[in-house]
């Protein structure tokens, strides 16, 4: 049996580990164009902020892949003939497979704007983007960050730490509008506005980016204002890397469509990570959830199914935890105000200065958002997966969230080595 895994980051690496556990003797080939060691992409924001040295991002070196018995090809997959079971590589090599996992992720969503310097926008997805941003950092200079999502926020804080004056330009009325509810979004917006060195422009978009005179770049905003900056960086979300699969015969929509076993429309091809348009628990449809824990979990489930062990995927769930201004912000499931119309909200009694809100749809828990709340989001995420109803949450839990016994804990004896999946 020959397994080929395209992409060796979160989903691909997890899949290789589980393929090896499930098939000790199988041949596993990993295809990834980036040089080893494989690094953890989300850590680039920590390097930008100066909180970590670049080598700290490396997580899987030659030794790791050798011990796992995975042959790594430093090559790029450029075509797939699903009907014939053949993967075409950039080097011209053709790779036959018995089971293929597509885990080649996503790329930054391009910024659509006019101007002769529109191509100068830096993105923030991988090591090369980080190098590009770092090369343009000028302590004491000015930067513009487009996009008020988590990446935009991290870029802003990172550039600020590098000594730049940052203008964060957000199309929505408040930052993090897709990730958190109005209260937390407002809170983050106020903190940003009060942070020396940061200018927050909400409900604003950039109309053109041109070569400037005083500074390298000049941005024209839809408000009519102009902004001279040394650096423009954008975090506008990601698009699945489906371009090279156009003639593959696989069913693609936004990403590559996957069923409840993470199998694509071809029975030998599986899909995991940011590329996979797979069932989503709270939305009920198939969509991509480009977050780390989902990618790793999908890699595991896809690997088990590739190895012939039937593992049903419960569905993905959007979840995020990031430190913001010394506080810890957490969100899971449905919290975006545009998606929670008609839902019931329960504010949980939390210790002073913290905030935790649960979102219920038709009595079932579908989301939660918190700020400095006790770190109980894992419990809530599992409660969302189990379809926990409002009446199943003990009053004692809601009244004493700091110290209450966990929701997920079964009664009676509790044994180590709980099993999931």
């Amino acid at each position: 049996m020959r397994y080929v895994v395209v992409g060796l980051h979160a989903a691909g690496r997890s899949a290789c580990q589980w393929l090896r556990k499930a098939s000790p003797a199988a041949e596993i080939i990993g295809v990834d164009p980036s040089p080893l060691p494989v690094y953890s992409r989300p850590l680039i924001s920590y390097v930008l902020a100066g909180e970590m040295a670049p080598p700290g991002m490396g997580v899987a070196d030659d030794d790791f892949w050798n011990r796992l018995g995975v042959s790594v090809l430093a090559d790029k997959a450029v075509g797939l003939e699903a009907g014939h079971g053949r993967l075409l590589l950039k080097s011209g090599q053709e790779l036959a497979y018995d089971r293929l996992l597509l885990a080649c992720g996503a790329r930054p969503r391009p910024v659509e704007t006019a101007g002769d310097a529109a191509g100068e926008v830096c993105f923030f997805r991988g090591r090369r983007d980080l190098d590009k941003v770092l090369a343009r950092v000028r302590p004491g200079g000015t930067a513009a960050v487009l996009g008020g999502g988590l990446v935009g926020f991290k870029l802003t804080m990172g550039l600020l730490k590098r000594g730049m004056q940052v203008t964060l330009i957000v199309t929505s009325p408040r930052p993090l509008s897709l990730n958190v509810d109005a209260y937390v979004g407002q809170w983050v917006g106020e903190r940003l506005q009060n942070t020396p060195g940061v200018t927050l422009l909400t409900s604003t978009s950039v109309t053109s980016i041109d070569t400037g005179t005083d500074k390298p770049l000049r941005l024209a905003l839809d408000s009519g204002a102009a902004l001279d900056v040394d650096l423009v960086a954008a975090g506008k979300g990601v698009l699945p890397n489906t371009g090279w699969l156009a003639d593959s015969g696989l069913e693609c929509d936004y990403g590559v469509l996957a069923d409840a076993f993470l199998r694509s429309s071809d029975e030998r091809v599986y899909v995991a990570g940011d590329l996979a348009q797979a069932p989503d628990i709270v939305h009920g449809d198939r969509r991509t959830n480009a977050v780390w824990p989902v990618a790793v979990e999908q890699g595991r489930v896809a690997a088990l199914n590739m190895a012939g062990l039937r593992a049903e995927y419960a569905g993905s769930l959007a979840m995020n935890a990031i430190p913001v201004f010394g506080s810890r912000m957490i969100s899971v499931g449905l919290v975006n105000p545009s998606l929670t119309r008609g839902c019931d909200f329960v504010d949980v009694g939390t210790p002073r200065g913290s905030y935790l809100k649960l979102v219920f749809r038709e009595e079932r828990l579908v989301g939660a958002v918190g700020l400095d709340a006790p770190p109980r989001l894992g419990e809530l995420a599992f409660a969302v997966k189990r379809g926990l109803r409002r009446r199943d949450i003990p009053a004692g839990w809601l009244a004493n969230v700091q110290n209450a016994a966990p929701l997920a804990a079964p009664g009676g004896a509790l044994v180590g080595n709980a099993r999931f999946g």
Partner: protein, 177 residues
Amino acid sequence: MLKKTVIVRPELCVGCMQCMIRCAQAHSQSKSLACAIREEILAKPRIHLGVGPENKPFPNKCRHCEPAPCQEACMPWAIRDDIAQGLKIVDPTRCIGCGMCAMACPYYVIRFYQDAGAPERPSVAVKCDGCHERVAAGAIPACVAACKTGALTFDEVNLYLKQGTNRLANAVYGVKA
């Protein structure tokens, strides 16, 4: 033989918190209670006492799940496997304190403190490590050693389940166990 693990019976817990104190002591630099409270970076307990219905105590610690949601969520790969003892152990020198693990943990057992294992970091994930060093040296986990009521025991799971079967049999036949 299966690996031994810490087995929790919350119904026997009286909420004395001795397990928390001994856990912190076992994870201190000095391993001595009198000295541990004077250490610059205070060791913290990795077992916590939750409050259940009617204020009943609930000892709560890491279950060392497999697959572990915390390990899957960890971006810098700071949670490693101790395969010999079946444990998931946080490496404080790799932890960046992002909070993803606590977000993924279904049991609310991960906390964030400064840790003597990585004093340069303001806060890292702190959770039960199964007292792997003590166990490797032939001792039992500190929380179990501290527990006077049998709420925490260190046993092989099937043996424990067999004892449970015996207790059930005694209950059915009206014999006080």
